[in-house]
């Protein structure tokens, strides 16, 4: 069966996000009251699998995220 997968990988709470800090500052310069901006990474793909949850979890652990510094979440929808 074919699935549409979206994975979001973010830095763990408390870890400094330099890119987010710079973008947040730039928004502040445009006079928005932005605080604590973080930049997660998003992956979208199609997956042929009988076991999508297990496989996606494994992909995150093996490559898409670094478990030491990242947390992740995903959504898996059937492709009609």
């Amino acid at each position: 069966m074919k699935w549409r997968v979206t994975v979001t990988v973010r830095l763990k709470e408390g870890l400094n996000d330099p890119e987010g800090r710079v973008i947040g500052k730039a928004l502040k310069n445009l006079s928005y009251s932005v605080e604590n901006l973080r930049v997660p990474k998003c992956f979208e793909f199609e997956l042929e699998s009988d076991n999508p949850e297990e496989e996606v979890e494994e992909m995150c652990r093996k490559l898409l995220a670094n478990p030491l510094i990242h947390s992740w979440e995903y959504s898996i929808e059937p492709v009609s």
């Binding site: 870890l15 400094n16 330099p18 710079v22 093996k62 490559l63 898409l64 670094n66 030491l68 510094i69």
Partner: protein, 223 residues
């Protein structure tokens, strides 16, 4: 004569300098394309550069190439494995060293000379230094901010310091935990360093302090 492999990934760019530094240190060196094998070598060096354009995370894609299984075998057998800059990032991504190299605290590419204190001379790469010696080498990276949840998981080999060897906040260029610039595994035979010893291996480059990394390694491999 002992012989070292310098592994070249798409985007590696310090391989020639590293090869030259190893030869200057008295061993044979060969640049080896990552699709080939590491048979017949006494040690392996993962050089600096931008393998796979730093896509995903610096070193992440190179760390998952087949040749890394051979590098892991070298590490297990206790042979020297040295990762310089991008090579250090590859070693952490491959799980050969604990920790991760995150974007610099101030988000920009840093290219400059730094002072370093040698903290551990019991590794194959640092045996020719004095304990606590202060040396000079260049750094050139955007992702060198070393993070480890528990620093007791690694051997801290080099720390960013001032010219007198004091480990200060001001001397820390990238935000690394404990000013860490280079770490080794428990056995000491796997070393990752953000500063570039090959770029400090000739007095015409401004310093020869890095050459002893290669000399130590060659001497150790000869035993």
């Amino acid at each position: 004569m002992v012989k070292f492999a310098v592994v070249v990934f798409p985007g590696s760019n310090c391989d020639f300098e590293t090869e030259r530094a190893i030869r200057k240190a008295g061993a044979e060196a060969e640049r080896v394309w990552y699709k080939t094998s590491l048979k017949d070598f006494d040690g392996v060096i993962l050089p600096g550069g931008f393998s796979y354009a730093d896509y995903l995370r610096a070193g992440a894609i190179a760390a998952r190439q087949e040749i890394m299984e051979e590098v892991k075998e070298f590490a297990r057998e206790g042979r020297p494995v040295l990762g310089i800059c991008n090579g250090f990032q590859i070693l952490t991504e491959a799980g050969l060293l604990s920790g991760a190299l995150r974007p610099n605290k101030i988000p920009r590419f840093l290219c400059r000379w730094v002072h370093l204190r040698v903290n551990d001379i019991e590794t194959p790469f640092t045996s020719l230094y004095e304990p606590g010696e202060v040396i000079r080498m260049p750094i050139a990276h955007a992702e060198g901010n070393y993070y480890v949840d528990d620093p007791s998981k690694v051997r801290v080999v080099l720390q960013y310091s001032d010219e007198n060897g004091n480990i200060t906040e001001e001397a820390n260029p990238n935000g690394s935990v404990l000013n860490i610039a280079a770490v080794a595994n428990e056995k000491g035979n796997v070393l990752g360093t953000m500063p570039h010893p090959e770029r400090a291996s000739d007095r015409f480059l401004g310093s020869e302090d890095g050459l002893r990394v290669f000399r130590s390694m060659v001497e150790w491999a000869r035993r």
